[in-house]
Amino acid sequence: MIMYNSGKIIFGIIIFIALFSAPFWVNSLGKSEAGAPELEYPKDHSECVRDSEWMKAYHMDLLNDWRDKVVREDIRFTEFQGGEIEMSLTRSCMNCHDNKEKFCDRCHNYLDVTPYCWDCHVEPMGAKEPLFRDTKKEKVTLMKKSVEAANEDQ
């Protein structure tokens, strides 16, 4: 096999491959870490409707499920802390996660996703308490009142 200008061509190919694969070997030097987004978690609440690992992966499915149940099936409550809590993005989720900027947005921006929840739903300006249903007493109160009542019982 005869190859004209083989030296130049092979040299060129090597340069091309080196440049083309640059992202891979630059990353392999270990300077590539983008770092996880720093999220602000609620300080005075520790329990969510599901555990945080599940929520990280599936909260969007949960919200879709809540949306359909509330709007289309008129089912308003889901199990929480031995009773039932109102299913509402702005009332229930954002009653604890009250900083959209430092919780929702930081992660969504990091992952470059733009959920359209906020096209219509309004970020709460003062925390609106979700309703909480005590399933034993069949009593519906505001969440804060039910927590206070539980503390008094103890």
């Binding site: 949306r67 149940k69 709007v71 289309r72 099936e73 008129d74 089912i75 308003r76 409550f77 889901t78 199990e79 299913m87 702005t90 009332r91 096209d119 219509c120 739903h121 309004v122 970020e123 709460p124 300006m125 003062g126 609106k128 309703l131 519906v140």
Partner: protein
């Protein structure tokens, strides 16, 4: 592989058992249960005798439009309205009365979605974004699903539905955080405040009316206030000849 009868039965039996167990587990995981609640049929009586005494009052309209983030758009072609005023001869075209008492020329009628028993708007919706809720008769809207085809706007004989030709947010004076706004390309209308009813409240317009001109209640309950009012007064409805069975009654 050769399979004999015994093996076949064992495999199918095991498969069926796993399937059933899986379904049981899925049911248990699904923590949201449907609560049965008594059947209702919400309706409203608008007492124009009381309403027209408060000349020029817009408390109900203001309360509704503020609570629901309804934009205030000057252009009549683009306006959004849930509850509004209209001249009597426009609101009750079928009355065709040339000799109307004087007062009907001066006092507009309060109009809103009639939450018909037989709503023409829901039948035409291609995405089931609007439907009549069987449990209480409210004609519901799911703005998540509305694709803005406006069939329902054309089908509604009462003009109760408005279309967002553009993003309404810049036209809302003071956005309330307890209720979502809408986006461009979505139809909206009065919902009888179903979100307030679900929390044990009353519609915003009814609460705001200080003249007691708006009576709201369960039409299926013979002891309710609204049934008493309907029993004692002659009422008319808009375009009853269409067979839509509107649930908003007027005392004129």
């Amino acid at each position: 592989m050769k399979i004999n009868r015994r093996k076949f039965l064992a495999i199918t039996g095991a498969a069926a058992a796993t399937g059933l167990a899986g379904k049981g587990a899925a049911d248990a995981v699904d923590s949201v249960k449907k609560k049965s609640r008594p059947q209702k049929r919400w309706g409203m009586v608008v007492d124009m005798r009381k309403c027209e005494k408060e000349n020029g009052c817009t408390k109900c309209i203001d309360a509704c439009h503020e609570y629901h983030n309804v934009p205030d758009i000057d252009n009549q072609k683009h306006e959004i309205k849930w509850i509004w005023k209209e001249n009597f001869h426009n609101a009750f075209i079928e009355q065709e009365n040339n000799m109307l008492p004087e007062k009907f020329h001066h006092h507009p009628v309060l109009l809103l979605c009639n939450h018909c028993d037989n709503p023409p708007c829901t039948n035409v919706c291609p995405t089931q974004a609007t439907w009549r809720r069987d449990s209480d008769g409210i004609v519901m809207m799911d703005w998540h699903r509305c694709i803005g085809c406006r069939y329902c706007v054309a089908a509604c004989p009462y003009g109760s539905r408005s279309f967002n030709f553009f993003d309404p947010k810049p036209h809302i004076e003071d956005i309330q955080d307890d209720f979502p706004t809408r986006s461009k390309g979505v139809v909206e209308k009065c919902s009888f405040c179903e979100e307030r009813l679900s929390r044990g409240g009353w519609p915003a317009c009814v609460e705001a009316c200080s003249a007691g001109a708006l009576v709201f209640g369960d039409l299926d309950d013979p002891d309710s206030e609204i049934r008493q009012v309907l029993k004692e007064n002659f009422t008319i409805r808009r375009k009853p000849e269409l067979g839509t069975q509107p649930e908003v009654y007027y005392i004129v």
